[in-house]
Amino acid sequence: MADSKSNAYGTNTSDTSFRKTWDKAEYTEKARAREAQEREEGKARYEAKLQGKKYYKSSDTTTAKQTESRANRLNVAANVGKTMLVPAGVAAVGKRGRGAGFYCADCDLTFKDNIQLVDHLNSKQHLTNVGESGEVGRATLEEVRARLEYLKQKREEDRKELNLVDLQERIKRREDEEETKREEKRRKRREKRRKTEGGVGHNVEEDEESGIIC
């Protein structure tokens, strides 16, 4: 008779070895840490109550990075003309979750208009969720000078581009641009194909221009 620990293939196993095994030590440690934290928080809440104050959980500000200015304008028109599938039922209840409108992935909230969205993006709630402190570093005179110098150069380059009147040159530049764009698309498609099993790719090719997001 075969050993109970080995199966037909001779591998050493029991009949419940397919179950996930739990690292008990790790989870005990986790539980202990959580309980300690809860106890601490409960104590703080109790003490605050004794003093007649409301307890606020303090967020970790030590790792928060400084807030910076937006590099671009908010692209609120990005989804215009596109068709989106929205989960039924969920969309109607408040802002929570993904619905029809502007979606903030960091906070899992959906907003109906751009004013609400930008108000949210400026809010403390959002900044905390993305790990920003809501503080902006001061710039020194040197930084201001460097910035102005950079902007000056940028403007000159833009002007050069604008003042280009040679038609052949412009056509050539345009063709180059389109070629790089196409190359980028091709690269993305190849990457996607590599990700899918067996490299067969999607049956339905997602066309970016069709405006349908699945």
Partner: protein, 221 residues
Amino acid sequence: MAHQADARRMLDDRGYTGQTIHDTNPAHLLEKAVRDRIIDSYYWKEQCFGINEATLCDRAVDMTFIGGTYGQQKPTPFLCLMLKLLQLLPPREIVLEYLHQREFKYLTALAAFYVRLTFSSVDVYKTLEPLLEDYRKLRRRTKDGGYALVYLDQFVDDLLTKERVCGTSLRKLPARQVLEDLDQLEERVSPLSEELEGLDDSDDNERNGTTNGHDEESDSG
């Protein structure tokens, strides 16, 4: 040291504790009605959030006109950036850098306005008067939404002489003559003085020339 990304602390009416300009909250240098419009405006929320002295230049470069409020009391980016400057309160050398760079005229105009609002009277005269020789063109948004052409020297002259500029009532500036009498300012020499004198001379000569004939006649007569 860092700024707050939003202006909540500055706009707190219950008690402002930050740096003051002319003994008041710097935000109060703009009128309450205009201030409220600015804070509600999309430009303020989107473009003026989280900028500092250096990134403010990006926004200032994109400005295409100056002015107060237009249309349905919509504040111009010029005013929004002014409120932001009043929040940031950049050190003097940075303001002067804004003012004296030669590339971006709207940034110069913005800095000139800021100087008029925050600097002391003597400083206002000293820093702004050199700009009276700057003849660059500016577009000004009028109240009804149209555009008007002004020149930088004209704008600076308005700042020095008028009471209301760009939807803001300016602090009273003592007359130049008063400050000169107190020996706080040197007498200003107009860059046109030579031409004016020349003009006067030629006028005198002309008048003498034309009247001379009559004089001679009357003398002889």
